[in-house]
Symmetry: D3
Subunit: 269 residues, 6 copies
């Protein structure tokens, strides 16, 4: 399943200048004929088979222009860390509304939405959850992602727009601490997961946890197997090194107990 | 369980000028020593043991002043029908944030939040759901109520503020059509339910469907029995009359099939 | 909810000469304008607002004529006790196929199908089951009823014909033994249940256990509350008398342990 | 269902001198021909149709003599409050083993075992649990009752001895505090429940929560409906008085949050 | 687990001339000493350790002769595509009755029954189901297989005959379209699965989905792990080629949405 | 994940002279700096980085001395076969109480408790169970292990001591019979599992089945994935040999049907 399949003519990647956007920019080229990149930050020159459309998610007009002409969307844009409510409101709540309205107007029928494990950050690290466990957001950021998932559900039930809400764990080059041994998602597995979401015949409205094939995990993707995501990386190869450079967690600290980690204590409030 | 118990000194009722607010204004007096009423619309003169504090939910300052000094809140305010996204965003999304921030600052520990059956309006009328079924909002209004429920969850997990999210069915003097035979909540039962939420020793974060003891129902409150809500009214006494003046539903019409009724087709989009 | 509501113009009652058919013949008149009665046995004279159409369920032609012109069907016909497979095959398997084919051809959109507790007769009397527990038929009769339920599901999924599969317990004038204290369904409650099935706005494909409000029960109807069935009778008034004239069950006897009672041992095989 | 039915010739009541034993001594006479009473404490004179057999549960011989000749057992004996482990071990762990061994030897086939809500005392008061939730005992007493339930399961699976494990809430003349509004079991309802356990045709190994028909409840008996227990009392008539003489719970206190109440903090360790 | 284990002396393979029968004819020889082959079509010459018994499933006598002397049965016979009801009734409903009656008479205690994914064809391709989801047959063929599963359950509960109902997906040399990427079962995996059913110490009455280790799947076999089936093939090696020669499904077409594929629209009715 | 990580300074291994204790003695050295060994039987000379402390579990004092100074405990001690109740009571019931009291006094916060598949031995071999299925012990031994699991739960809820209750299947050099093909746990996998329990950041109170990656299995560990146990061995390599030297089970024998095997019939009673 590893070589990407070209399933869409013009694919929009939002948040293309961010960490994950950058990791996906090259990888997604095999999934489409034209890759349209968007961000508020600088994206450099458009490469071969690339288009660049700057857009601010809080502007309905800019979002509309960004979406027009696309067949599918990988929405990595918006704020991806804890932030004051007002900023979250603009980028992640108003922004996701603008995106789906534009998709509805322009007939885009499939979206991969970057949700987050912080939608369920207040579950304990000793609990296994699946996608139908009720949200327990660990901050405004997680709350806005829960909102996006529900909005996507509405646009599926009313307009037939299919969405994969990918609750991304910790997608970095490698896991940084013991918690990330559970939450790690390699860039290649992130790409595999998005490719599966884009190509599976029937996606529906699906929530899937974005993680590699880690030994320790808190998330159960057994209800999302119609996507066909098969991770090929694992945090286990980093396990010994991570243990060597970190110490055992203090189980009196909420950041050590809850799945959201430090997010459960973060933020301006 | 019928006579209300005075459990709080100063109780805030928002949306006090609306349909349900008006129905509750007299009824809630037995639940508190002082009833503070708030709305943007005119509330008339403050009666005995009443206070009036006008406030716009989209203003952090006004909401703060409204909440200060209260022990508990019954939040009926905001928009309670389908409306354009921008209006919903101000009143129901920003508004509920303002409310909980004020509650946090002023140490209010218990809130009854008027949620709605439109959080799950895209389930079918032949399905029985309980509070842990994933949201399937039938419009922006229902979506904003799902957001409020998740935000309340966050303030419980992080700040210990208890909330009952009451998914109100159809609270009117009597049921108007066949669908409302299932969704009807009498004003007295609405008051009983709120009184139970205010007085139960441990509320936690709880979602409860607001309905009377109707024969036909789609909602299962068996996980909210710690609230102690026992309805005493029923739509059944209106059944014969409702059938006489209405015709059988057209099962090709989404408004007839889904729990949300006409809301599944309503709205400006 | 007790007085029946006239919801259909011409209602077909099959098996009208049987025990339950006879009990329903008068009671169902309030539910329709014209009651068409059918059986292979003699039905006497047609009364006011009655029609009589003799039909053998194993004959496609006779069933077609029986169904033509009707708006809804209460299907009590067929064999209702354990019998040799060949007889069951004709009356209950081929017969139910003929009935639904006729309903499909003639646009009948709602059927109440007399299923049986013998679909699940091999569960123990100390188990509580609901409609989604897998079938465990206790003989050919129960097996044919499981078949009818599945066939009704097919005609709902493909043709939109709604069916209530009523798994009738023991519908007699009064409970005859200790087992029937659990399974008893009074004739009036049987009629209430059928009336609810005919009048609920959205029926879907629903399985409901047919029992009165007995203290002892093995069946959970909580997923069929959209029907609005509220029993008003109870076997409890017969309890003392039944205990006085019967002895304690021998728990080494399968007929005493399983829900199906003597059916688990009955039959020609 | 209210008048007791004589279902057994000689019925043994252990712990007959305790609070519940005393409440049951008169009430159980209708359920049997001869009521054998046992305790280590003085039981006074044997009344009509009574027998008295003193026995210490930690003595295999005394327990054997106590059980011999009986048809069924209502086991209220042993320690019913938190106590040092050694005492619990003798009375409740060794004691229940002696009881079931004696029952096995003498062919007693049905036992009502007084278990306790303290088997699950570490669930929160905002959670609804049923009998299959894993035990979360709140002390040695609750732990010993969990042991008794498991031992009863073994004797059912291996020897066919049926047991109802009745997790008694708070069985007193009236509820003493706000927690007991949820947990209260009137003496009459206790008797109704035991009578149902003794008379239901097939009991199996069943766990049932012992509570009256209280508005607030944390326990779900829907899987034990084959017993036929229908409570007729309710704590609700005491609600107003209890609220008047008690204050709101401190939700920082484990004793206020958990179902076990003060037991979660009690005990010698 | 790959080399077959000889677990039975004489093993009967019905439908031996069909596509799967042919694929199994050689493969099953390692599982038995004598392989008896049966079909209505020509089976050629009996090979070494083979026996040939022609039989029409609708004939009780021929089925009885076919079964006599066997130790176990792999029942691939009957109609395996959608067909008129009358034909299905003879081959698959009457036929499976004849087979189990013969097994009962001759003491055959283990049967592998070729059921079908069309028992649940009306679930969506975005749903994951397990064996206890209620049947949603997509036609008469699927309906007859649901009947066979229920009949097998009856013969297990009453007569102790163990059956594995194998809901075969798409067993061909390779997957033909995008749907079959999910449903594909290689011939070798089919054989592995049947071998596991024949050799597992305790089979009980079990439903298992017959699929290879495909990335995309809709079926959850986690409740059938006592069989010990471990697939070794996967449709993934065909994925790129299948995508290259097929186009994206039209999600307005039921055949594209439902698990049963074109079967949901097939058939003479 | 294979090379053990040194997570604790002084690790106590009880039952160190037994079969599993011996297998673990060398293997656990990599998991700690000092391995303290305890048993009532002779343990030979203390090796490098070993300490030996003889202790009888029924003696509070000896257990206290044994535990003092340790950081974590692997509790393999006590009786590990069926035995008379009195012996079980001393070693496994009183013993486990002594152990946890000592842990509480000395601040030990993590324990791996050798529980047993005999806690659930009365489930059938055709059933798949997970850790939250209610206990169905197959004898006094299994009953005592259920007690230990519940006691560990109490010490977690009240004192924050984390425990992994490892329900060990059959841990031998190789599987001895067909049942052990399902229950087998290699010594290396046992060590991997214990190492995972010792090192996972948040353990909580967790029940996990101890088995290798066998094809046939009855146990579902999907709720214990936060431990990070990944077995690397499998009974499948022994399958052919086991089948060759054993015969098919007699399904009329409880020892062949139930998961507990011969234990369901064993014991002094």
């Amino acid at each position: 399943m590893d070589s990407p399949i070209n399933t869409h003519h013009r694919l929009l990647l939002t948040g293309a200048a961010g960490g994950l956007g950058t990791a996906l920019r090259d990888r997604l080229k095999g999934n489409c004929t034209v890759l349209r990149l968007s961000d508020t930050a600088d994206l450099g020159e458009a490469g071969a088979d690339e288009e660049i459309v700057q857009a601010d998610l809080s502007s309905a007009e800019e979002v509309d222009a960004m979406v027009e002409g696309c067949d599918a969307i990988v929405h990595m844009g918006g704020i991806s860390v804890e932030a004051p409510f007002g900023a979250i409101l603009q980028a992640n709540i108003l922004g996701v509304y603008h995106l789906y309205e534009a998709a509805r107007r322009h007939g885009v029928k499939r979206i991969v939405f970057a949700s987050s494990n912080h939608v369920t950050g207040f579950y304990k690290q000793s609990e296994t959850i699946h996608a139908e466990h009720p949200p327990r957001p660990d901050g405004f950021y997680g709350l806005s992602k829960a909102f996006g998932e529900d909005l996507a559900r509405l646009y599926f039930d009313r307009h037939g727009i299919e969405t994969a809400c990918v609750r991304i764990g910790s997608s970095f080059v490698e896991p940084k601490d013991r918690r990330m041994l559970a939450t790690w998602l390699s860039f290649d597995d992130l790409h595999r997961l998005i490719g599966a979401c884009l190509s599976t015949p029937v996606l529906g409205h699906t929530i899937v946890f974005g993680m590699s094939d880690n030994a320790v995990t808190w998330w159960d993707n057994s209800r999302a197997r119609h996507i066909g995501y098969v991770p090929r990386d694992s945090s286990d190869v980093f396990r010994e090194a991570v243990f060597a450079r970190t110490s055992a967690p203090d189980l009196n600290d909420p950041a050590a107990i809850y799945q959201g980690g430090a997010f459960v204590k973060a933020g301006p409030f």
